[in-house]
Symmetry: C2
Subunit: 81 residues, 2 copies
């Protein structure tokens, strides 16, 4: 059983209105030294697969369901449980 | 200028309906070897503060705006730019 951590971010050049809104709110709160806020998703899951098959399956799951490959990038990390 | 990566997850014991839904969807797609799906947020931002002040400010921003401390936990990582 492995623990998988998946980080999903908006692709470079794709509008990130949620990030812009949060950045404006941080400025309003007085944190003017913050820039480039991007908001994505963080997904944790447990995967019961042979080490050799893991990477392929995670890539598949990300492309089919977990991310929108048109507008999002993803990276992942496998932590041995 | 430092790059900050913030990981927000639902607290242990808090219902995560989005995670449950995604887990069910993965099972429907045939990925029955997946369990414990949790969905959180991943936030990236650039912070222009002295190294000594960074941690305090990030904690403050997380508690005031970026997370809901009642139902969410967060961890962060500072990457020197």
């Amino acid at each position: 059983m492995a623990k998988v951590k998946i980080y999903v971010t908006p692709k470079q050049g794709v509008l990130d209105p949620q990030g812009k809104t949060v950045e404006a709110a941080l400025h309003t709160l007085g944190y003017k030294n913050v820039a480039g806020v991007k908001i994505g998703k963080y997904i944790e899951l447990e995967l019961n697969a042979r080490p050799a098959d893991r990477e392929k399956q995670i890539n598949e799951m990300c492309k089919k369901l977990l991310t929108n490959p048109v507008i999002e990038d993803f990276t992942f990390q496998v932590v041995e449980a």
